[in-house]
């Protein structure tokens, strides 16, 4: 009972959705925004206007992560 596994299992109780919702929603929004900025923005569509600084900065990562690029 003193093993880490037993402790972890004992504490693994469900988190009620109501208290956690603001955290979860913000996390999803920030996560998706980052995914979009690294993978897509200033390519097919752009929210940061008609520049390519961001696109060029993360250019190699975008290719390597499998996103479509020029």
């Amino acid at each position: 009972m003193t093993t880490a596994g037993a402790v972890a299992r004992a504490k693994a109780t469900a988190v009620p959705a109501s208290e956690t919702l603001p955290w979860l929603i913000s996390a999803v929004l920030v996560g998706l925004a980052l995914y979009y900025v690294v993978g897509i923005d200033q390519g097919a569509v752009s929210v940061f206007g008609d520049t390519t600084v961001l696109h060029e900065l993360v250019h190699d990562a975008r290719h390597f992560l499998g996103f479509p690029c020029h």
Binding site: A8, L32, D60, F64, C69
Partner: protein, 285 residues
């Protein structure tokens, strides 16, 4: 333990995973990217020479370099890898929070299962239809179509996994956990295969098909002069292969480190919480 703890640990685990993937990419992606850019430049010169020989006026100066290659290949690569690590860490933390305590798995195992599901749906399945490509492989004119098709694969894979899990849960009572998981796997593969067969290959996009005839991909063909003689080769198959293997390995590494670090951090926090509850002074501090 509340959602805040999970989300913060997701960010930390994601950043660590991004750093590890950055080092991997420096070693294994950059040589292929450099080779691809060298091919692209050489091909550009050959095309220009061909156009000039045909009597066309050369199409004005080279592209302006917004960010230098030196920055792109080091800092820029790192910014991208760490940012995507944090993004995926956040999404994994959310999925984990929703499942925590609701499935009969130890936290670190659940963390690894969530990360594995993310790798499968967000990267590996789309990769089968639209694999990662180095510079020079991919036409400027089709970037809009390619982005849309790629996102259809990502979103489709996520929906298919949800459907597979729903089916598995439905049949589990009758056929047991092992067989239910197998049925879920078959559902996922079948749905993914149908979507892949319906979506067009990149070479089949109208602009490409008009230019080169129907093909599977956009990988550059050899450049020929009017007489049909090859004056510049097609894209190097080995560079393409090594780039794609490295891309796949980097994503496996990214998601694997993310799942392992996140699971370890969550279990450490849970163990601390247990100690804190036994000694109220400690938990109040």
């Amino acid at each position: 333990m509340e959602a805040r703890s999970f989300v913060l640990r997701g960010v930390i685990a994601g950043a660590v995973a991004g750093l590890v993937a950055w080092v991997f990419a420096l070693l294994f992606a950059e040589p292929q990217v450099e080779a691809a850019i060298a091919y692209e430049e050489g091909r550009g010169e050959a095309e220009e020479a061909l156009a000039t020989a045909a009597g066309a006026v050369p199409a004005g100066g080279a592209e302006e370099e917004v960010v230098s290659r030196g920055v792109q290949a080091t800092i820029g690569l790192g910014v991208g890898m760490v940012a995507i690590g944090i993004a995926l860490g956040l999404l994994v933390a959310v999925a984990y929070t929703l499942l925590h305590g609701r499935v009969a798995l130890r936290p670190r195992v659940l963390a690894l299962v969530v990360a594995g599901a993310g790798f499968l749906t967000i990267y590996a399945t789309p990769f089968v239809e639209y694999p990662a490509s180095p510079p020079a492989v991919g036409s400027d004119e089709t970037i809009g179509d390619r982005t849309a098709l790629y996102l259809v694969m990502v979103i489709g894979s996520l929906l298919f996994l949800a459907a597979a899990v729903a089916v598995a849960r439905q049949v589990r009572g009758r056929i047991g956990t092992w067989n239910a998981v197998l049925v879920g796997g078959v559902v996922y593969v079948a749905l993914s295969a149908v979507l892949m067969s319906v979506l067009p290959g990149l070479g089949e996009l109208t602009i490409n098909a008009v230019e080169n005839g129907p093909r599977v991909s956009e990988t550059p063909l050899p450049l020929r002069d009017a007489a049909g003689t090859i004056i510049y080769p097609g894209f190097d198959a080995d560079v393409l292969y090594h780039f794609r293997v490295a891309s796949f390995a980097a994503q496996a590494l990214l998601w694997g480190v993310l799942g392992l670090v996140f699971g370890a951090l969550v279990e450490r926090r849970l163990a601390k919480g247990e100690v804190g509850e036994r000694t109220p002074e400690a938990s109040a501090a």
